[in-house]
């Protein structure tokens, strides 16, 4: 069996790691953070069409990276879209599939998507689905005739969040901005 060479520790105590550039990190690192994704305290559900909502969790404008939970509330579709970045998603509730693939994602399942793929998201589950996503780069959306209609990226997602906050008197949460 493989064992980790780091000594096992059952001591709930902070070890002072002697990283020599701590002052630099303190001055310049955006810092890790915790975002409460289970409630609306850190980030509200922002409507996305009639049957869906998005809870925005993180924005990184340097990498065009955005993280959120997509909630499709009942059986429905997110139309065909094309990715130019890499997507990591975890199914949290319900189930979801793509018309292009033969699998169905259920809670706990992991979905990876790579640049150059296009696909059509469908949930057949009576309660729809909730999907946690960690996404990089633009997503191109098309109409039925394959005309490009809209390209969403970190700016679209920030605007989606901020517009809703402004319209509902909700304070912008600086924690969402990496």
């Amino acid at each position: 069996m493989t064992v980790m060479t780091a000594p096992p520790s059952d001591k709930a105590a902070i070890v002072d790691v002697k990283f020599p550039h701590k002052a630099l990190v303190e001055r310049l690192s955006p810092g890790g953070r915790y975002i409460d994704a289970a409630t609306d305290v850190d980030s509200p559900w922002v409507p996305f069409g009639d049957n869906a909502a998005i809870k925005h969790l993180a924005f990184d404008v340097r990498q065009n990276l955005f993280s959120n939970i997509l909630w499709v509330k009942a059986p429905g579709v997110i139309g065909t879209h094309f990715h130019r970045g890499t997507i990591t998603m975890v199914c949290l509730e319900g189930s979801v599939r793509y018309l292009e693939y033969d699998w169905v994602a259920t809670p706990g399942g992991l979905i990876l998507e790579t640049p150059g793929e296009s696909h059509t998201l469908v949930t057949d589950h009576p309660q729809g689905c909730k999907l946690f996503g960690w996404m990089q780069g633009p997503i191109d959306f098309y109409d039925e005739d394959a005309n490009l209609i809209d390209t969403t990226d970190v700016w679209w997602f920030i605007n989606h969040y901020e517009t809703y906050c402004r319209e509902h008197g909700i304070a912008i949460n600086p924690k969402l901005y990496l």
């Binding site: 990498q63 150059g116 780069g137 990226d153």
Partner: protein
């Protein structure tokens, strides 16, 4: 002055680095690449009448592409918008963007960030060469601001492979990360 703690070494010899996962790395890791300066290793592929691109790397997992852009005389690369990030270093001649007040000359370094759109111009009689490391989509527009085409790693790979096919040049695997 800050100094490195690693001992200075003047020995021309490989030190065996302890590696717990050497077998795994050899079996599943990806080797670094080397692309020499010659056209046999990567040709100048025409990009319009006044420019050429020398492709150096494609990473389809990250939508990353690295190349040298050569504009052969005074000219323009029309307004385009980035949705990923760009790092570049000037190699020859000079270039600037109509949107900014700097001019990038050999040895000088620039970055471009997601969301920025700009228009590349070279006024140098000999044009310019610069190394670009780009991630993600690169959108081009016509004079009325209509979106015309989006370039990404697949476009650049196709640009390289089409030219190689048409000219009987072997595809260089070193370009594919």
């Amino acid at each position: 002055m800050a100094s490195m703690k690693a001992p200075p070494s003047s020995a021309y010899e490989i030190v065996q680095v302890p590696e717990l996962y050497g077998d795994l790395i050899r079996a599943r890791g990806v080797e670094g690449t080397y692309v020499g300066a010659g056209e046999a290793e990567s040709p100048w592929v025409p990009f319009g009448d006044n420019a050429a691109i020398r492709h150096l790397a494609f990473d389809v997992r990250e939508n990353v592409y690295v190349n040298i852009l050569w504009i052969k005389g005074p000219g323009v690369i029309g307004t385009h918008k980035h949705r990923g990030r760009v790092w570049a270093i000037g190699l020859e001649g000079s270039f600037r963007y109509l949107e900014y007040d700097w001019v990038c000359k050999p040895g000088e370094f620039i970055t471009e960030t997601p969301g920025t759109a700009h228009t590349l111009v070279t006024d140098d009689p000999n044009g310019m060469k610069a190394l670009f490391h780009m991630q993600g989509a690169n959108e081009f527009f016509d004079a009325e601001g209509n979106h015309v085409e989006t370039l990404d790693v697949w476009w650049f790979m196709n640009h390289y492979e089409t030219y190689c096919r048409e000219n009987g040049i072997a595809i260089n695997k070193q370009l594919y990360l």
